[in-house]
């Protein structure tokens, strides 16, 4: 019927669910399902990415295992979702990166950090690498600013390009038959829904993780992680503006905007991923795509590593450890950027696109 076994299963489940509809008040997946009577690959990938994995429909379903109808929507959609990342990856040649994602991420991260360490060591004198540097321009004694900016711009732009191409393929697939561009209102609605993780709420009572009690705190940890990431991104952006517009060079004093934003973001990027990792380890295997352990943990680890090395750099920037820590931090960030289109990071992009599509469908239906 469909291209893959998991899409066949997702189709079977959506047929079961569409003849029941008890879960229609829990999230966006079921109302979106109700707008269809049959499901194409694109429809199923859309529903899979609309699912936030709150677990409520599994706990609430009278037909979940051990019932013979074996309805497990969160797990099935989790697997379909992960497979969709590979299916829409750009360029196609790199979609294999999702197959053993944890390994790929680890290797890229290790190589990237090693390259920065070796690069610093090769280009700098020992006394510079392990020297104590303070005051404006201290970082750039290890790596010239322009080189740093050029390298990271290229990595970042590549990541953007790959993500845009991937999500374009996804959007085309889920857009049918209505198709067309996203309207402003739907985008604003999706930003709101994504920003507050509206559908990671178990229908209002809270999400499910380790058992049938709605005690899950992934939403909090996700907020810490996501907004931590945004704050760090904002810190870098402000610093870039300082550099080029005001001619002020990093490192900045602790009270200055880039440091404050970066420190707050860094704290989020440490606590958030630790919380998400703990929740991941405690999650009921019935709700999980167990084969994607590496992808889930790989991304969490990259975020943690970015936050942790960044905070370490902030705390120890006036000591001899600054050089090696800067290399590690830059290595982590570089690896984070280049693996963005080929790891769990894409979940945010696809889910956002699915939320835009859902907002659009709601408007059309209303």
């Amino acid at each position: 019927m469909h291209g893959t076994r998991i899409l066949d299963e997702a189709d079977r489940l959506m047929t079961v669910c569409n003849s029941c509809r008890y879960c229609e008040g829990l999230c966006a997946v079921f109302p979106a399902m109700e707008m269809r009577r049959a499901f194409s690959d694109g429809d199923l990938n859309y529903l899979a990415n609309l699912c936030h994995s709150c677990g409520a429909c599994y706990v609430d379903c009278q037909f979940s295992p051990p019932h013979e109808f074996n309805v497990n929507v969160p797990q099935t959609l989790a697997i379909a979702r992960a497979e969709s990342y590979a299916a829409y990856a750009w360029p196609r040649a790199l979609s294999g990166a999702f197959a053993r994602n944890g390994l790929v991420i680890s290797i890229v991260a290790a190589l990237s950090m090693a390259a920065f360490i070796l690069g610093f060591a090769a280009l700098n004198d020992r006394s510079v690498l392990f020297g104590v540097h303070t005051g404006p321009g201290a970082f750039y004694r290890l790596m010239p600013h322009n080189a740093m900016a050029a390298l990271f711009s290229v990595a970042f732009l590549y990541a953007i390009l790959a993500l845009v191409m991937s999500v374009r393929a996804f959007w085309r697939d889920i857009g049918a038959p209505v198709g067309g561009r996203a309207d402003g209102g739907s985008i604003i609605q999706a930003i709101r829904d994504a920003g507050e993780l509206r559908y990671l709420h178990g229908g209002g009572v809270g999400c499910y993780n380790e058992d049938d009690k709605p005690t899950d705190r992934r939403k909090l940890y996700h907020h810490l992680t996501f907004y931590g990431f945004l704050l760090c991104f904002a810190a870098t952006s402000v610093a870039t503006l300082y550099h080029y517009l005001l001619g002020r060079e990093a490192p900045y004093p602790w009270w200055d905007l880039p440091v404050v934003l970066g420190a707050l973001g860094g704290i989020g990027l440490i606590i958030g991923p630790v919380g998400l990792f703990t929740a991941r380890m405690r999650r009921d295997p019935a709700l999980l795509d167990e084969n994607r352990y590496g992808m889930d943990v790989g991304f969490i680890a990259m975020l943690f590593l970015t936050g942790f090395t960044g905070m370490a750099l902030l705390v120890l920037r006036e000591t001899a450890a600054m050089g090696p820590l800067l290399a590690l931090h830059l290595g982590a960030v570089f690896a984070l950027f280049v693996t963005m289109p080929y790891g769990k990071f894409v979940h945010g992009i696809y889910r956002f696109a699915a939320l835009v599509r859902y907002a659009q469908e709601r408007r059309t239906a209303a």
């Binding site: 079961v16 229609e24 008040g25 009577r37 609430d60 009278q62 009572v205």
Partner: protein, 463 residues
């Protein structure tokens, strides 16, 4: 060995949990014995979706009003007067408060999904369905300190002079083989899953019945109570049956095996003959008659036959329709006599008068000159592919129960109230619902009488 509680609740559905919570809130120590394993806990509540409560004004979850009087009139209509007016009116009055009380016990109502148009007027819907509702009640009960045991089948009740003393267990809990309690709340449902019992009234035909709920609704507690001198109420031979897909599992197919398509086509038996007016009345009102109609047909099987023009007129179905490019091909797949099915459809088509189709009202599309007539929504079946759903009787619940007072106290056969035995839910639904059904009423009976039974059981125990 035996241990003693203030209140023992036997059963694990809506009524049982409302009773357990109310009793616990009344200060009693409470044990709940659920005969099913944890996953299948809650009997028919697992498969419910909404509750019917009276209310005087619109709320966030209901348009309104739905007055006590209107509720009573609806009940009177569906039961054809087979109801205890005093009990029924009491239940309806209490149902108003249940709308809020049940929320205080953790149950959530589904808010409007698209403006007030999507809200019901008479019934409010559980967010996430009946199992979500049950989960909330169990969490609340356990948080309050109610003890719950699963797979806890009761094999005997020790009752003396209308006084409950103890319940004997099939499998010991710890080293306890017997549970004593000051009060008993029996909320263990009916006997719809007990095929042998059904056979007493339906004969071998019961072997062809499908049971919509779990296999654990065996009615063993009901039987023990009636055997030990509790007065019975309700017609023992009757059960609520709808036509469900014949491909459904024997047990626990729940809501998703139902068919809403009868009014859009014709229904034939295994001889390819029509046997009842498919267009008699607006669908929800006549939903429940088709189970019994099919049960009366040979081999308890029938086929809803329609054509490709109406496929999107009803909810998508779990099992796809069986299709044939010709009537004969369809008949072959259904193992019906092709000539007989062709004749039935040809005669039906010839009898269809032209009219303006509108499935929301009793329209003027009808047949003339055939028996039985189709009095509304009759349209020719002539656009291939021809489609069919095979259906069998799907048994939902039974009407036989224990007679109770307004305090949910069981009455003994001699008319005296029991000192310490209370009943709630399907096991006593026959007091209010002598026959028929209207959506959400089972849950009203369960929550209202569950709460009353728990409160009264605790009061008795604490006095």
């Amino acid at each position: 060995m035996s241990s003693k509680y203030d209140v023992l609740v036997i059963g694990g559905g809506n009524a049982a949990l409302c009773a357990a919570i109310a009793a616990r809130r009344g200060g009693a120590s409470v044990l709940v014995l659920e005969g099913a394993p944890k996953f299948y806990r809650g009997g028919n509540t697992r498969h419910t979706r909404n509750m019917r409560c009276a209310h005087d004004a619109a709320t966030e979850i209901l348009t309104g009003p739905y007055t006590e009087e209107e509720f009573w009139e609806d009940l009177l209509r569906v039961t054809g007067g087979q109801t205890d007016e005093m009990l029924a009116r009491h239940m309806i009055r209490e149902s108003k408060d249940i709308l809020n009380w049940i929320v205080e016990q953790g149950v959530r109502w589904q808010p409007s999904l698209g403006g007030t148009l999507s809200l019901g007027r008479t019934n409010s819907f559980f967010l996430g369905g009946g199992r979500a509702m049950l989960n909330a009640l169990y969490l609340t009960a356990e948080r309050l300190g109610v003890e719950v045991k699963y797979d806890a089948e009761v094999t005997d009740l020790v009752i003396e002079d209308g006084m409950f003393l103890a319940a004997r267990l099939k499998r010991p809990i710890g080293d306890e083989t017997e549970i004593r309690a000051t009060s008993l709340v029996a909320a263990a449902g009916g006997f719809e899953a007990n095929i042998d019992w059904l056979k007493q009234y339906w004969g071998e035909a019961a072997d062809n019945f499908l049971i919509r709920g779990t296999p654990y609704n065996r009615g063993s507690i009901l039987k023990m109570l009636l055997d030990k001198g509790v007065q019975e109420v309700g017609d023992p031979t009757q059960c609520h049956a709808v036509a469900i897909d014949a491909r459904a599992p024997k047990f626990d197919g729940g809501i998703i095996t139902r068919h809403d398509s009868v009014v859009f086509g014709i229904v034939v038996n295994k001889h390819a003959q029509r046997f009842y007016d498919e267009g008699e009345d607006i669908w929800p009102k006549r939903y429940a008659i088709w189970g019994r109609l099919v049960a009366a047909q040979p081999d308890q099987i029938a086929y809803i036959i329609f054509d490709s023009t109406v496929v999107t007129s009803f909810m998508p179905t779990l099992f796809p329709p069986i299709a044939g490019q010709t009537v004969a091909e369809l008949a072959g797949k259904l193992e019906l006599d092709p000539a007989a099915l062709e004749k039935t459809i040809t005669e039906f088509n010839a009898a269809v008068l032209s009219g303006t189709f509108d499935h929301t009202i009793l329209d003027d599309c009808r047949t003339e000159g055939i028996t039985p007539q189709k009095t509304h929504w009759a349209r020719k079946i002539e656009t291939p592919p021809y489609l069919a759903y095979p259906v069998r009787p799907g048994i939902t619940f039974t009407y036989l129960g224990t007679r109770v007072t307004k305090e949910a106290r069981m009455l003994m056969a001699d008319g005296k109230p029991s000192a310490n035995m209370f009943a709630a839910g399907e096991i006593m639904a026959g007091n209010v619902l002598g026959k028929g059904y209207a959506a959400g009423m089972g849950m009203t009976i369960g929550s209202v009488f569950g709460r009353i039974a728990g409160r009264e059981a605790a009061r008795h125990a604490k006095n």
